[in-house]
Chain length 604, copies 2
């Protein structure tokens, strides 16, 4: 049966199954072992209704890029560009995708799902994977600092790479390959987590030499050499290694991902931009159990940029990413030029934010004027004119502050979510378990966390990623933190570290009101809380145990470390097992209002 | 005065100058030395009418990319991508741009003009140039084949390049540079034309070493080394070296470019796609007189892909391009799959044709079925569904041929122009003066041609560029050909050389009916006509003189060389000065109907 006949068959089935009772068009996809991409594309293109349900017969489906829908796509925190998209939805009122436990196996450079300007999205019971991952993995057999080389044994089973002209290229699929190993991290084969003391490398060997028995020698002078026995996982150079998330959800409302598993993605797992009300529940981002793969998504598992309403991540297994477990944030833009009393031209600044919609008509915006990082005047956007991917002209309802000047920053007040992360397991990955940047209520409870950098990070910043903003109400409770911050850099369980550029006061309060209670923290490192410019921390009823799985990497680091902060309260906590310095360190400013009461195992 | 005020001023002037008498909105642009890009962008965006005239006060204007309109653009024969566009016009009924002799100086990666789906376009009296060309130029001082190096002295005045980590990068503007020298050609400083015996190189030196006095040594093993004294002009690697033409005109009708001079372009000069009725008159593509630049447009000066109606290129000066003077062609697509009795999925094949519209609703299409290259059945497109940049599904009015099979080819019958090139001077550039591929009437008359490959080429092909098609009526008269085909490869004045892939008969007639008369041909090489699979050539009343400016490069080559052809007539021509073999060579097939009469200086 040729493709057209297959498609016709699909539609005959479709026609016979449309349910008019609720105006939802139901499209049944019969299982086939052939490329399903064109069938899915036609099914979506030919939908008559704007409320559709696509039901997959349970099975394993192959998605090839050849006949995919293509579109130039702005994707925040990824490379913008012309993408091959399997499921592209635009302007639908309701979409349900029922996978019935199916597996969707992608091949090559593809963006699995893009939802734009849709409502009532529900995706259920499906698994996403790639036939060949966009990753190079290899075991480190030896290193030689003096002669600047590493001997590695690359994984071959299921991987695609080759040595050509003394260089490794991968994955060499449909003409695409990375021309450098690029961003590389070390994993521990015993735990599949990032290695104790691990650190990021950027590999671009001068020469790769083939030795015997599948071993290759990479010649490169490195600042540090990876540990012998570690598994290197490389994801290519930064210009190309974030093709697309598995799910891009942009300008949508009321979205539920339930029982959706992502074993691999060429970027983030679940990315949400300017979307309202989101649930990612009973889902996961992790490699297949028993596989030889270490990397699931090559960037954050979940990521929420300028979202609003209620965001819930619940009961999810999140492992093996090369970046954060979750990142919830808004976007800082800079004033480029004041065009008149009502209008400013603003500029995006991170190269992977280009094209991102900072604000639309009707949005309230905070003006934040140097040198204070305080959210200042609120004004409402009446017109947003997209000039190009970097610049937008915003015209406001009221006059803008007379004192506004170039390089002051703006933050969107309307698009910030209430955020809850509950009952998740976030482990075995690079970076932070959770990055939290929203002024509205945040609840992080009942999770199991293990991280190689800080477990929970708060960092509104205008230094690199331009992610806003300061928190105002954060509750972190009943979580279990195990061996967090086990990478080679100095991090903490809770890390509060705003980083506005130097034109802003570097000691003024930024974040506010964190309750951290009833958590169990087990680990070999000391640092628990490391906070700068924080007003209000209640740290109570937590149990902190030092384990001996590994040596404490920073034995001189204090458990608690406060700078430029106030209203810090450490009450009724229990610390066990610490042999080294158990201390509360605070600068003069923080000291003034610091209260340390009724704790076991440590004093002020 | 800030930008917004400047724009307001422009519009006050605009408002006072709108002429309602003919419903044309007239926009006056006052001269400024500041970046004019945002003013032009706003002027176009804010136009109320769909019939506009933009009048520039005479002056030199600077166009920067920072605040340019940006758009993902399909541009045939260039790199598709997200472009910064100075003048972007879409869906206008009439546009007149009056430059009043102004110069538009562009900076960095910019697409100066894009017209899409517009009618009645008239652009007059303006000059386009770049502040810094996207070219690396250098004089060859020495070469050493044994040690595989070239010593060169790069041009510095007005150029931008640097040596870093043993590599040359250029032009290093706004973060963009080519990572290789890439496509390079040799020019002669005495004539500013391509060097006698010149050839294309692809330069990517292993190492570049700085010597004394501004001299650099390029280490690279090359198949041939450039002549000492030549000027190398490099335009970067092929993935990036065709950013955009100076003028892209797509899906438009009734277009006149009059007195428009292009001194530099980051791709072609004038590109037309699926456009009807075009005049490029009294215009030019050439470097500024007296400048040290050798390269005007980095690709064809004029290029017409699937155009129709009347196309006229008249009284133009065309020099210094790194590709053809003109190229008039359609597009061959291959049958990818027959989907049903009425529908085929077709595929584009050249990487720079991706996204090109082969055919639209209502177009007539020829089916060309292996093994014959004959245009077969004509059918009318009733639906064209764009699948992605490579594939389109075409549904036809009548059933498609039962015998149609994969890899048969289709040619658009509707979109072919009548083409006239008259009174032009086409010299000092790489490749052909004119490539002609249209079945309708072609007149090439009164031109001055000098080329480094063949002067006039006919080559419908499915081997690389997939350009259709076979000619049916070509008149070449009263032209003056001087030192043509002076490059290092074996070419002719008139070169007829179809190149359908091997699934097609390699001896069957392809092109038809050429009259070549009253031309003067002066040159040091022998080859005048080299034709394969041609039915009908009247070559009469021409004067051919051998000059002695340079040695004949191919003294054994015949003046006339025919393969697989018929109805060739050489009458009343005069040949002077040839000392070597003056011969008419023809294979058995061509011999049968060959007539050679009343010529002076040679016989059959």
């Amino acid at each position: 049966m040729n493709l057209r006949n297959r498609i016709l068959l699909v539609f005959l089935i479709v026609l016979s199954t449309i349910s008019f009772s609720n105006a939802t068009e139901i499209i049944h996809i019969k299982h086939t072992t052939k490329d399903i991409t064109p069938i899915v594309r036609e099914a979506i293109n030919c939908a008559i209704e704007k409320e559709i349900k696509i039901v997959f017969e349970k099975g394993i489906y192959t998605f090839l890029p050849e006949y995919a829908h293509t579109k130039f796509s702005f994707i925040t925190n990824h490379g913008n560009g012309y993408k091959s998209i399997a499921f592209r939805f635009e302007d639908f009122y309701a979409i349900e995708i029922q996978g019935n436990g199916s597996e969707f196996i992608f091949h090559g450079r593809m963006a699995p799902f893009q939802f734009e300007n849709c409502k009532n999205i529900k995706v259920e019971n499906l698994t996403i994977d790639w036939d060949i991952p966009f990753i190079f993995e290899a075991e480190v057999l030896a290193t030689n600092k003096k002669e600047s080389y590493i001997d590695v044994k690359p994984f071959t089973d299921g991987y695609s790479w080759k040595l050509k002209e003394e260089k490794i290229s991968f994955p060499n699929i449909d003409g695409f390959s990375f021309d450098e190993l690029g961003h590389t991290h070390c994993f521990d084969p015993k735990t599949k987590s990032t290695f104790y003391g691990s650190f990021g490398l950027h590999l671009k060997p001068d020469k790769v030499e083939k030795l015997k028995n599948g071993v290759y020698r990479f010649y490169e002078k490195l600042p540090k050499y990876p540990p012998v026995g570690a598994i290197l996982a490389a994801k290519g150079g930064k210009e190309l290694n974030r093709y697309a998330p598995a799910f891009q959800t942009q300008n949508c409302k009321d979205v539920v991902y339930n029982k959706v598993i992502i074993h691999h993605a060429l970027g983030m797992g679940f990315l949400f931009e300017r979307t309202e009300n989101i649930k990612v529940i009973n889902s996961g981002v992790y490699t297949r159990d028993g596989s030889n793969r270490y990397i699931s998504s090559t960037a954050d598992a979940t990521h929420f940029a300028n979202c609003k309403g209620e965001v819930l991540v619940e009961n999810c297994r999140i492992e093996g990413m090369l970046d954060d477990g979750t990142n919830v944030h808004g976007t800082y833009v800079k004033v480029d030029e004041i065009l008149n009393e009502y209008t400013v031209r603003i500029a995006l600044h991170h190269f992977e934010q280009m094209g991102f919609q900072f604000a639309g008509q009707g949005d309230e915006v905070w003006f934040i004027q140097k040198p204070s990082p305080k959210r200042g005047v609120v004004n409402t956007v009446v017109k947003a004119e997209f000039i190009n991917e970097k610049y937008t002209e915003l015209t406001f309802k009221n006059k803008i502050p007379l004192s506004l000047s170039k390089d002051d920053i703006l933050e969107n007040k309307t698009w910030n979510p209430v955020f809850t992360m509950r009952g998740c397991r976030v482990t075995k990955h690079r970076a932070r378990n959770a990055m939290i940047k929203t002024p509205l209520k945040v609840v992080i409870e009942g999770n199991y966390f293990s991280s190689d950098m800080s477990s929970i990070g708060l960092r509104g910043e205008t230094s690199k990623w331009y992610e806003s903003g300061a928190v105002g109400e954060v509750i972190i409770r009943n979580n279990h933190f195990v061996d967090c911050a086990h990478g080679g850099t100095n991090h903490a369980i809770l890390w509060v570290s705003p980083k506005l550029n130097k034109k802003f006061n570097q000691t003024e309060i930024y974040d506010r009101n964190i309750i951290f209670e009833n958590n169990i923290i087990e680990g070999f490192n000391s640092r628990i809380v490391w906070a700068d410019r924080l007003d209000g921390l209640v740290f109570r009823n937590n149990t902190i145990k030092q384990t001996t799985n590994y040596p404490n990497q920073f034995p001189k680091a204090p458990l608690f470390d406060f700078y430029n902060s106030k209203n810090i309260e450490l009450t009724n906590n229990k610390v066990e097992g610490f042999k080294d310095n158990i201390t509360v360190k605070s600068d003069k400013v923080s000291e003034k209002t610091l209260e340390v009461n009724k704790n076991k195992g440590f004093k002020k």
